[in-house]
Symmetry: C2
Subunit: 403 residues, 2 copies
C-alpha cells in the first residue's frame, strides 16, 4: 500500500525565504566580490581568547548541564553591569534575559507583544529579519521612513494623531541595517515621549552600537522611557557562534518571554554563555578588542565611500559610514539597482538591491553595500567592477534610446 502523504500547515503559504538569502546563494561564486553579505569578519574574531575561555569554562561541570531559561547567571550579572552603565540607571537581574542571538528576542517578543492583526511600526527601509518575524506573527505593518537623523519621528507622530495605535515600534537605532544612519538624540527623546504618552512599546534593536568609527553612538532610546525594550548581541563584537543575544526589558516582559522560551527551546548553552561572560567581563581586553575591530571596519568603510565618490561622483549619494557594517547608496541618475544586478554579477561584484528592504517605498535606485569582510584594495576593485557594469548598462540604454 502506498502511504497517504499528510499536509503541512496552511500558515506556510505566505512565508518565503528572504530574497537576500536567495541572492547570497547566487553570489557565493569565488570570482565575485560580495558586498551583499551581512557577516562580521571572522578574521577579526577573538579566536584564541574564545578557545581559552572555552577551556576555562569546561573546568567546571556546571556548564555541561541545562541552564536556566533566562540565561546563565554569571552572564546575566555581566550584562547587568554593562547595561546599567549604558543606560545610566541600575538595571536589575530580573530585567536581563539572554536569547539565542537577538533574532530570538524578536521572535519571542512578537509572540509576547502581538495579538493577531496588531499594528507594528517599522522603519523603511527595514531590517528584514524583523520584518519576516512580524509578518509571520500576522501583524499589520506600517513603515515610517528614515532620513539622515534616523526614524522620521514626525511621520510617526502624524500616524498617532490619525489614531493609529501600534503594539510596538521597531527601530535599529544605531548604524542602521540597511540604512546606515543613526537616530539623533532629539528624535530618541521624542520617540520615548510618544511611547510614554500613547502607551506603546519601543523595541530598540541595537547590535551595532559599539561599532562606531568617529564618535560613540548617542545614549540609547531606553535611557528615556521604561517602555523601551532594548536588544543587543555578542555576534558583531565577539562571534556569532556564541549565539548570545540579550534583552533588557521590564520584569513582566521578561517573565512572559521566559514562559515562551521554555516551549521554544528550554534554554541556551551554558558553555557559550560562560564564554561570552568571560570575554564581556574582561573590560580592559574587550575595550582594546572592540577598538581594533572598529578601526579596521572604519578603514574599510572610508575606503568604500572614497572609491564610490571617486568612481561615481554625484551619480551616487551614500551615507557617511559612521559605524556598523553597511553603506546605503542611492543612484541619482535613475539607475535601477535590480536591473543593474545581473550586470554587476557578470562584472564580478554583488550587492543587495534596495527593494529587498523596502516596505512602503520601492527603493528602486538604492542598494546596500557591506564593507566588513573585504580590505580597502578589494573594496576599490569591487567599486571599479560596479562602475564598469554601470557604464555598460548606461551605454546600452543610450544606444537603445538612439535606435
Amino acid at each position: 500500500m502506498r502511504a497517504t502523504t499528510p499536509p503541512l500547515s496552511r500558515r506556510l503559504d505566505g512565508l518565503q525565504s528572504s530574497a537576500i538569502r536567495d541572492l547570497l546563494k547566487l553570489t557565493a561564486r569565488a570570482d565575485i566580490i560580495s558586498l551583499a553579505g551581512g557577516l562580521p569578519d571572522a578574521e577579526l574574531m577573538p579566536r584564541d581568547r574564545i578557545a581559552a575561555a572555552a577551556d576555562a569554562a569546561l573546568s567546571s561541570r556546571g556548564v555541561l548541564q541545562y541552564t536556566e531559561s533566562p540565561g546563565w547567571g554569571p552572564l546575566r550579572e555581566v550584562l547587568r553591569t554593562r547595561e546599567s552603565a549604558r543606560t545610566g540607571r541600575p538595571v536589575s537581574i530580573e530585567e536581563i534575559f539572554v536569547t539565542h542571538g537577538s533574532q530570538q528576542a524578536l521572535s519571542l517578543l512578537a509572540e509576547v507583544l502581538l495579538d493577531p492583526g496588531a499594528l507594528v511600526i517599522v522603519e523603511d527601509p527595514a531590517y528584514v529579519g524583523a520584518l519576516q518575524v512580524f509578518r509571520a506573527a500576522g501583524a499589520r505593518i506600517v513603515a515610517v521612513p528614515l532620513d539622515a537623523e534616523g526614524m522620521r519621528v514626525d511621520v510617526l507622530r502624524e500616524l498617532l494623531a490619525r489614531g493609529e495605535r501600534p503594539a510596538f515600534v521597531h527601530t535599529v537605532s544605531n548604524f542602521h541595517n540597511p540604512g546606515g544612519v543613526t537616530m539623533s538624540t532629539a528624535r530618541r527623546r521624542e520617540l520615548a515621549e510618544l511611547a510614554d504618552a500613547h502607551g506603546f512599546w519601543v523595541i530598540e534593536d541595537d547590535p551595532y552600537g559599539e561599532l562606531w568609527f568617529d564618535a560613540p553612538a548617542p545614549a540609547p532610546v531606553a535611557t528615556y522611557s521604561p517602555n523601551v525594550i532594548r536588544l543587543s548581541s555578542a555576534s558583531k563584537i565577539l562571534a556569532p557562534t556564541l549565539r548570545v543575544g540579550w534583552m533588557i526589558a521590564p520584569d513582566r516582559v521578561c517573565r512572559a518571554v521566559e514562559l515562551l522560551k521554555q516551549g521554544a527551546d528550554l534554554c541556551g548553552s551554558a558553555l557559550t554563555q560562560q564564554i561570552a561572560a568571560d570575554l564581556l567581563s574582561d573590560t580592559e581586553w574587550l575595550a582594546a578588542h572592540i577598538d581594533s575591530v572598529r578601526t579596521r571596519y572604519g578603514q574599510r568603510a572610508h575606503a568604500l565611500v572614497e572609491a564610490v565618490r571617486a568612481r561615481f561622483g554625484d551619480r551616487i549619494v551614500t551615507t557617511d559610514a559612521a559605524g556598523g557594517m553597511f553603506l546605503w547608496a542611492d543612484f541619482t541618475d535613475g539607475t535601477d539597482t535590480r536591473a543593474l544586478l545581473p550586470h554587476a554579477l557578470d562584472a564580478g561584484v554583488a550587492y543587495v538591491p534596495g527593494s529587498a528592504f523596502a516596505v512602503s517605498t520601492d527603493y528602486a535606485h538604492s542598494m546596500r553595500l557591506c564593507f566588513t569582510t573585504s580590505d580597502a584594495t578589494v573594496l576599490t576593485t569591487a567599486v571599479d567592477r560596479l562602475a564598469a557594469a554601470h557604464t555598460a548598462v548606461s551605454e546600452g540604454a543610450r544606444a537603445q534610446a538612439q535606435l
Copy 2:
C-alpha cells in the same frame, strides 16, 4: 509625566509555567533528595572529550561565524550516517535538520504542521514539554493511554474509526518520559500503518533510545513509514550544553522548518555543533562512553526498583526501568501522590506527582521518579524517607478514621 504602560498579548493569558518547574524550585533545598528532576548526570558527561573537541574546533575560524539554518554541514553528515544505520535506509542530507535541542524541533513542527484548532494526539501520561507547545499552538489535544507495550494503538484506531483526523500523533517511543515504557514492535508497525492509511504525521520523539539497560530498543517507528518525523538529541548521551537536537523528516518538512528557523533564531552554534560532530563521529569512543552511562543508570534504576519493592511491597507497582531516566510508580493502596508530596518534602525526598503529566486521566495515585543523578545508597535513603512519609500519612488517616 508618568509613562502609560503598554499591554502584553492576550495569548499569554492561558499560558502557565510548568508545574514541574515550579516544583523544582521548591525541591532545590540541600536537605532534600530530589527524584523530581529530569536531568542527566553531569558527572557522567564527557567533559575532557568536549574540552578537546572545543579546542580542535576552534583551530578553524569557520566555526566562529553564523552557520546554515539546517545545521553545520559536518554534523549533518555524521547524523546522516548514524540515522541511516538506525532506520535501515539511506537517509539523505536534505532530510537531516539540526535543532536547538529537540524541544525546538517540537516548537517549529507545531508551527509547520498545525493549523489553528487542528487535532493532536498525545500519550497519557504525556511529555509536558510537548504538551506545552501543542497547547500554545492552539491545538485540540486528545490523549491515548499508555500500557506496558507503550501507546495503546487500539485506542488510536478507535478514535480514527470514529472519524477523528489528527494532524499528528506524538509518541516518546523508547523509555517514555514520564511513563517509563517502550512501544513494542507490533505497535510500531501498526501505528505506521495507520499513519500511512489515514495520512497523518507521527512525531517519534526519541531522546532516550540509546539509554537501554538490558536489551537495545526496537527499530524506530520511522523504519516503517515515510510519514514519521524522528527526533533525537545529544543532551542525554553527551551534554545538554551543546543544545544539539536533530530531526529526520522528508525534505519538504525540513524546508518548511528551515523557513521558520530563520525567523526563530537564524541558526545554531557552529562551535557546539562541531563538538557534537566530533564526538558522535568517533564511534568507538562513543560506544564505550554510552555503555558506561548505560551501566551506571542501569545500576541506579535497579537499585531504585529494589528499594521500592523492599519498602512498599505490593502497595506500589512500578515499571521495569529497562532504560531511559525515569520510573513510573502507581500506589495500589489509594495514596494520593499530591497529598503525600508535602509530607515527602518534610521527610526530605521529592518526586513529581502523576497529575503533572495527566491529560485525560488524573493519575492521582502515580508519581515519576528520576534515578539518574543519585547513586544506589542515596536512592535507597530516598525510598526510606518516602516510606516514612507514607507511613505517617497512612497512620494519620487511620487515626482520623477512628475518631
